[in-house]
Structure formats: C-alpha cells, structure tokens
Symmetry: C2
Subunit: 376 residues, 2 copies
C-alpha cells in the first residue's frame, strides 16, 4: 500500500462530497483533506522547516517558474533535489509554472508549443513548454508534479476559455508522454473558467488519460465564491472518484470547508502566509487585524484556545508592537498562527468526516466565522 | 549568594586582565564573560525567544529610548514588565537612552538637566532627564538599568569631552538618587572619549559612588581599535575589581577577545544581527559574505564544525539563494549562526580562563581570524 500514487479513501460523508483519505508519495503518506503551505522559492515565507513540522504540515508546495529562474533546476538537481536543497524531508508538490507565466501578461506570448516569456528578474528570454515544465520538475525531484496548463484570467470570453481548455488538454498529453521520473506523481489540471460545459469537457478528457491525481485550476482568481462552488459541483463528479483532487490557490477558510464538502482533497494558497506578514490573523470567528489600536493594551493571545507558538507565548499587544516596529518576529508569529489555524481546520474536517460528523462541523464553522469576503 | 548584584569572580588570567565570573540578577545568574544580543524594540531582530535560549543566550539588551516612544513605558508596565511583554524569562539589561538621543544630532538640545529631543517616529517633543531615564527603566523592570550619560561623537575636542564627562558624573549621581527599584541593578557609565585622563577621572568618580557594575561607553564609535584598547587599559584598572565591567556597543569578534583580555565582563552589539540580515556571517577564519557567487553550488554548511541550526540544516548555496530571493529565512539563519558564533566564542573564553589557558586561546583566535576591520 506504500506505492506512490496509491490513494485510499477511508471515509466519505453521506450527504456531501467530503472524504478522508491517505495519498502515498515517495516521501511518505499524506492524510487528506490537506492544506499545503506554499514555499514558492524553496522556503515557506517567514517559516523554517522545523516550525512547519511543529505545526504538523504534511506537504508543501514549491514553484517551477521561480526555481527554474533562480537558482536554476541544475543547481537544485546538483544539491540532490529540492528536499535536500531546502532541508524538508516530507512530500513536496511543485506546480508547473503555468499560472506564473500566464500572469506575466506583458512579458509573454503563447503558441501551440508553449509560452515565450521574459524573466521578471532580469528580462532574459525563455520558452516554457509542457516538456520543459516536466523536465524541470523531474530535476526538482518533487513528489507531485503538475502538468503545464493554460490559465485564463477572470473574466474571460467563452471562446478564449475554450481555446485554453484545448491547449490544456493537448499539453497534458505532452506532459504525460514526457514524464519519466519513477515515483513522482504527475497530476493533470482542469481548466474551463466559469463555463460548466468546458469544465466537464476538460475533466473528462483528463480522466481518460488516467492521471494519479487532478488539479482544479483557474478558480479563486476573482470570480464570486458561488461561481467557484458551482464549478466544483460540475467538475468533481466527472473526475475519477478514486483519485485525489486538488483545488489550486484556495486557502480562505470558508472556501476550504466548501471545497471539502464538494469532494476536494488538497489545497494550497499563499493567503495564510501573506496575510500573516501583513498582520492579519485567522480566528474561529473571522479575521483579525492585529495592527488595530484596540489591541494596544490587550495582553491576551490572538486566540486563547490556540496551541500555536504565537498564542502560547505572545500577546496581541506585543505582536501589534512588533508590527508597528517593523520586526521580522511579527511576520513569523502571525504566519505561524495562520498556518497552524489552517492545519487545525483541516484536521478537524478530517476527523469529522471519519466520525460521520462533517455536516455538523461545516454548519458550526460557518455560524462562527464572519465571512468578510476572500481577502487578496 | 543569590542576591542581585553579587558578582563572584571564579578565575582570573595570570598575565592578562581576563576573568570568569558569575553575576546574580533578579532573573538568575549570568556567567561572564558574556555577550548580550540586542533586542532594541523588545525583540532580537529575526529571532524568537526560544531560539535565543537554544543558542544559550543568557541575557539580552533592550532600549529605553525606543520602548519609551513605542509602545510606551506604561504599556510595558501594564503587561507586567518587559520580561512578560516579550516572553523572555532570563535577565534583561536596558540601556538608558543616552546613546540614542545623542545620535539624534539635529533633533536634540542638551541642558544641564537633560536632553530635549524630537521623536524620530512622529516628531513629538520629549525631555529625557536622568530621573526620567531611571523611571522608564523601573517601569520596564529590567534586571540591569544604565545611568543616563552624555555620549560624544568621535572625533571630539578635549573640552567638549570634558564637559560631557562632568555631565555624565552629575547625571550618574542624579540617577543613583532617583533609583528605587529593589533588585534592579543600576550601572554607571564611564565616558571620556579617547582622553586617558578623562577616562580615569570619570571612572574614579563613578567608583566612589559604588555602583554594582560599570559600563564603558563612547567607544567603538569610529576610533581606531588601538585607541579603544588603550582606553580600556586606562579605565579598567581604576574600576573596582570586584564589580562587573560592561563595554557597550562592542561585538566584533577580535574586539571581544581583546576586551576580555583587558578585564571586560560584558558586551553588547547589534553587529551579529545586523550583519546576519545583510548576509555576512562569522567563521573562525573571518567574515564570509554568503551572497558571493562562489557559493552558488557550495552545498556545505557555513561552518562544518558549527552546531547551530543553520549549519545543521542549510547549505551555503541554499542560504545564498534565500538571500537573493529576499526570503526572511535568510536573515533568520544568518542571524542565528552569528549569535551562536559569539555565544560559542564567549563560552570558549570563559572555559579557557577557568583552565588557565586564555592566552593560548587569544593567540590562536587571532592567528585564524582574518581581521578585515570592524564592519559597520
């Protein structure tokens, strides 16, 4: 049962799509549903690997585009792979760079073969293809690699999105053909913007290629939450039930709960780390801006119930002071808390699914969490 | 023997002024010679308290001027003192704010009673007196408080320095009279720029006031190392032999060794943390700039012999990559290493003094350490 790619579903919710499972990887098992902290440039911002372990992080994400440009895939290969390079011995998922190159709107040109782009670092010219994206990820030696896909922005015309879906399917085939690394799982990525038929078409085509897992991309890019939920409702039933599903770029707590309810197993997002660096922390009643002057003399922790290092050792007043003073420790404490919060939320959902109590948890969560909209 | 202020000298070097001792404080003993990491704004930059403990830091420094302006002495008093505010239960030394207000050259005016200055944060007007400096430090509840002194810049005329010494002596009396906090040690500060007679005069006057310890200020402010060493040679013999001596603002490794050789027991400096954030790390052969391209594919640690977290888990190539990528973890790892290095250096000196081998350690240290001049 320890073969990488094996996905064992341990329990499913009777009335929602939620499920609890275990995904085997070359660096050990990942219990799902799981949130993956993002380490874009081979480091989860403000965190050290031992702290991620203390929080219970099971798998982290790194970025093909960024690591290809700096320090370069060969440097990391020479280090013995990304795990050894960054001192993280648990699973790593790398995204393909698709999202990043398509975000370089002024610096890129798309062809049927791939994307010509200029580096945001030094303006140097590069041509990222499905084959190259796979090759880089093989050099990085991640546990889970993602197919190179075409991401469209939101809003986007039906025609534009359809063309991107065509390309995404074509490139997925090319990635699959190019991929050789034993033990590394290659996931396909479903695109289709907010068009239900395109989402279904893309998911069906990818499902035929029989990937060991499926990303759902191009969501959480500005569309209303309801559209995202609708697209999930259209997509997950088409994907093979026995394979893990990964909703890319989603980390806002209410979205995580609703994603799980719709059968998603994996998530990643820069939100908890970015918000943390900006002094916004998650609590079970919603977001809290620690810089607010009401915390000047508030010597209680961010969340008295929380067992993270920040909540065990620092007060709101102290963290507020650190922020105002520009201390790195402020970013560290808030990031730590936010990642711990999401980790806890995922653990609670998993436990609830295993106990057949997911629906009650989902209801309670939404009752308590004041949804201020997805912060960006 | 656990009365705060008790200083027990355990061993002295036969041929130099070096000595190993134990200073009792309200938060426990401090083994000397000791380097105190600087936590200007109630945080040692890039470090968390648990990491400082892991390194073996015994006592840290915080800054009266900065904490008075933000978050304010009353906020910290209300938190239960600086230890509770910042989650550090070992000794804390606070400096008086003298050095900081005198650094505000354009924003301050000195009178016999104190210093009028404008806050560097918001331009608000304040008047810092010896009495206020003591009061603030009593609010902060530090273990060791420093007298409010007048620091002159370097170079400075004999006349100017003499006037500052007069004022420093007068203010030391006022601080002593104003100081009431039981268990908090108040140290005097010797000034006198690079004028031997002034240094001796200041030290003699302060010695008469019988402080539990003595700071040596106004050095390491731009004068040649030889002048600093000469001033120490003039000053320490005049100070009471049974009291701790604290050379303020010194943290460059060769200066620490020479300071100890001249009978100094305590040191502080922002150097290890500031250099760390800038990618410069200490090794036993000198400084190393981790950003250098020669480390691009160097997968060895900063120092293979070092047992700090950075050296146990990260390579030069990885840390260089983190720097170039602007990752907070780079500052964390290099700061951690530098503080660990100074801690180790002080421990080695203490051990050598106890074993009667200080001179040999001193010689070996200088043979190995390429002195590139005091980096500022």
């Amino acid at each position: 049962m320890n073969v990488p790619g094996c996905f064992r579903i341990e329990a499913s919710c009777e009335n929602t799509g939620a499920r609890a499972g275990v995904l085997e990887t070359a660096h050990g098992p990942v219990k799902t549903p799981v949130f993956m902290p993002v380490g874009t440039r081979a480091a989860v911002k403000a965190m050290a690997p031992f702290e991620l372990k203390a929080i219970g992080a099971q798998v982290i994400l790194a970025n093909t585009y960024h690591l290809y440009l700096r320090p370069g895939a060969e440097v990391i290969a020479q280090a013995g792979g990304l795990h050894r390079f960054m001192g993280w011995d648990r699973p790593i998922l790398t995204d393909s760079g698709g999202f990043q190159v398509f975000s370089l709107s002024d610096l890129r040109e798309v062809t049927a073969e791939g994307v010509h782009f200029k580096s945001h670092l030094d303006g140097s010219r590069h041509f990222l293809t499905p084959e190259l994206a796979v090759w880089i990820q093989e050099q990085l030696q991640s546990d889970i690699a993602m197919c190179f896909d075409e991401c469209v922005s939101y809003p986007c015309s039906e025609k534009e999105s359809a063309r991107a879906v065509d390309r995404t399917i074509d490139w997925a085939k090319k990635c699959r053909a190019a991929h050789k690394r034993e033990g590394q799982l290659l996931f396909g990525i479903v695109q289709g913007s907010v068009f239900a038929d395109q989402r279904r078409r893309c998911a069906e085509s990818l499902a035929e290629m029989d990937f060991p897992g499926y990303g759902i991309g191009g969501l959480s890019v500005g569309e209303p939450h309801e559209s995202m939920y609708e697209m999930l409702d259209e997509t997950t039933p088409v994907l093979p039930p026995g394979k893990p599903r990964y909703l890319m770029g989603v980390g806002y707590p209410p979205n995580l709960v609703e994603g799980v309810a719709r059968g998603v197993d994996m998530f990643d997002c820069v939100l908890p780390t970015r918000l943390g660096r900006n002094g916004t922390v998650f609590t079970w009643t919603g977001r809290m801006n620690i810089k607010n002057s009401i915390y000047e003399r508030d010597f209680s922790p961010i969340d008295p119930e929380c067992s993270c290092y920040a909540c065990r050792t620092a007060s709101r007043a102290y963290i507020r002071h650190l922020y105002r003073s520009g201390e790195i420790l402020a970013s560290r404490l808030c990031t730590w808390h936010n990642l711990h919060f999401l980790q806890k939320l995922m653990e609670l959902m998993r436990e609830a699914i295993l106990k057949g109590k997911f629906e009650s948890l989902r209801r309670k969560f939404h009752e308590n969490f004041r949804d201020g909209g997805n912060p960006r």
